[in-house]
């Protein structure tokens, strides 16, 4: 059952990306282009998604556990460190270059075009490089 509910949740999330137009990287880039062809849509997407999530979380996180798991898996790290800042800055540059974030590109994989797959392949290589580098850094610190 977990798998089925995860699939349905992903479908609803993906429909949101599709309906909102965030599946189109040009539309996303135009939000960032405040000095040019500005399209404020992304702000409305983020604000309504944030409001819905904040309200929904208030109800859901008041429960002792989720429906199909023993506990909630919430991020535990609270430290604001250079890694968080540098990583977010690098991500922002990448996002600003092509208009794709992971949430936007995954539904685009279902459009039947090759461009999103090329981006995701590069993204996974980037993730692998970062994971390897982080492990090496951790080893160097430990040694």
């Amino acid at each position: 059952m977990r798998i089925v509910w995860a699939l349905i949740s992903g479908l609803v999330f993906g429909l949101g990306i599709t309906v909102s137009g965030m599946i189109n990287p040009t539309k996303v880039l135009n939000f960032f282009d405040v000095a040019g062809t500005w399209d404020p849509s992304l702000a409305f997407v983020m604000a309504s998604a944030l409001l819905t999530t904040a309200l929904g979380y208030r109800l859901v996180l008041g429960r002792s556990a989720p429906l199909f798991d023993a506990k909630f898996h919430l991020p535990k790290t609270t430290r604001i460190d250079p890694q968080l800042i540098a990583g977010s800055a690098i991500y922002g540059v990448g996002w600003g270059l092509i208009g794709y974030c992971p949430g936007g590109v995954v539904p685009a994989l279902g459009l039947g075009r090759t461009e999103p797959w090329i981006f995701v392949a590069a993204l996974l290589v980037g993730m692998a490089i970062a994971r390897f580098t982080r492990n090496q850094l951790a080893k160097a610190v430990a040694a």
Binding site: A6, S20, G21, S41, V45, G56, Q83, G94, G96
Partner: protein, 142 residues
């Protein structure tokens, strides 16, 4: 040019929020797509792998469901060359791994939980995205 579409934006944004709340209600997980993607590829156990792949499959099915319901094809236009897309993909992959999240994980789920880490991360990536577009479209390109 893309047109400002406030109604579609709010309907879509609300659906994104509902999807995020659903996965929290059902499985107790944050809907951070970079984390789900990375977990689906690099996970070591079925427990970590199965639900992530299912969530991603649901997302990928969305355009087909959208088209079958509305009869419309979602608008799509690549704003750059393949080379730019590959460089951007590498940067996004490296960035979200060190930054521990993206627009969905930090910008929606993290902000909804009023996480200070997510507030900082969102401000930083938004600033750098705007700055990158300014430089590439108005200083270099144009």
């Amino acid at each position: 040019m893309t047109e400002f579409t406030p109604l579609a934006a709010v309907v879509g944004g609300t659906l994104i929020g509902i999807g995020a709340v659903m996965i929290m209600l059902f499985l107790g997980r944050v809907a951070g797509i970079s984390g789900i993607l990375s977990g689906a590829v690099f996970a070591s156990s079925w427990e970590e792998w199965g639900w992530r792949v299912a969530f991603l499959a649901g997302m990928i099915a969305a355009p087909a469901v959208f088209t079958s319901v509305t009869g419309q094809t979602p608008g799509f236009m690549m704003p750059g060359t393949t080379a730019v897309s590959i460089i951007a993909g590498l940067l996004v992959g490296i960035g979200v791994t060190f930054g521990a999240g993206c627009a969905s994980g930090h910008g929606v789920c993290g902000l909804a939980r009023v996480s200070p880490r997510s507030i900082v991360a969102t401000a930083v990536f938004m600033f750098f995205a705007v700055a990158t577009v300014f430089v590439s479209r108005h200083l270099i390109g144009g």
